[in-house]
Amino acid sequence: MKLKQVNIAFVVTVGVSVLVFVYLVFLGYDEIKTFKDVIKIIASILFPIPMLFFVRFILIEHFLPKNTDEYKLKNQRPATILLLIAVVSSLATMQLLEVVTQQKLEDNLIFAHLINSTTISSYVLNYVLYNNLRVNGILSGVLLSLAVHVFFLSS
């Protein structure tokens, strides 16, 4: 019974993430100029999905560790530290890349979508199936830094 629910959750996750990304594409509608851009964005959105299926295929058994208070307490500190490290290091990486290549992330919409869709998919997958708190910390950090970068640090 439990297994079936988890499986349904997996399929629903993939569906919802596809929908969210299609929506995001339409939000960035102004930057889409040619038919080629549309193809590239669709491809970058689809990028994580075959990989997710492959990972799920291999790691079919080790899922859902007991989400006890003890497990949470044990992983709280390392997860928080990883979150902070991930935020700082990916912000620094993005700033460095922008300085080095003299280009803005918003001008390269495809890469923004690629990073975003890959991180969101693995985040949701990890949250629903494996519940590894440290991985959760890293992925949250990457997403948060991407959001901070787009919101505050780019003009």
Binding site: L3, N7, F35, K36, I39, K40, I42, A43, S44, L46, F47, I49, P50, M51, F53, F54, R56, F57, I58, L59, I60, E61, H62, I110, L114
Partner: protein
């Protein structure tokens, strides 16, 4: 009692793997159709002989059907337990290799300038996928199909 529970649980794992494999092949089919449409519109392909378009699929579909009907299953099917580390490494590397190879193959597909040739090539790849799907029901088939999908996507993102 415990025995019954265990076997049903393991059987579920196998069927879940099979379901994932089916989903993956559906995704690959969709991606191939997407590739055909993208190349057709973007490269402005012309149709040289209409009759060739009709007969292009038969080139690979007929051999596929013949092979499927005479061949027995080539692999033992999906494993029920977990894969060990060397196996994961090996099939991960196979996936990366197929991805690289398929990025190249997609590049070759983009060089084709007649619709009937493109159609024949895409149907040939599609037949290979269906062959893997129905006869090589194994992690090997899964890694090849994943490689095909990722190869097409990587070509579309970075090289198109």
């Amino acid at each position: 009692m415990n025995q019954i529970f265990n076997t049903s649980n393991e059987k579920k794992n196998t069927s879940k793997r099979e379901l994932l494999f089916t989903f993956q092949s559906i995704i690959v089919t969709g991606l191939l159709a997407f590739t055909a449409i993208a190349f057709f519109y973007y490269n402005n392909l012309n149709i040289e002989k209409g009759i060739k378009v009709v007969f292009a699929p038969f080139l690979s579909v007929v051999p596929l059907l013949f092979i499927l009907s005479i061949l027995r299953d080539l692999r033992n099917g999906f494993k029920e337990g977990n894969y060990n580390k060397p196996e994961i490494m090996k099939f991960g590397l196979i996936t990366i290799g197929v991805t690289a190879a398929f990025t190249g193959i997609t590049y070759l597909l983009s060089e084709i300038d007649a619709l009937e040739v493109l159609l024949a090539a895409i149907i040939a790849v599609l037949s290979t996928v269906f062959f893997l799907r129905s006869k090589i029901k194994d992690i090997l088939g899964m890694s090849i199909i994943t490689g095909i999908a990722e190869g097409i996507i990587i070509y579309m993102i970075f090289l198109f």
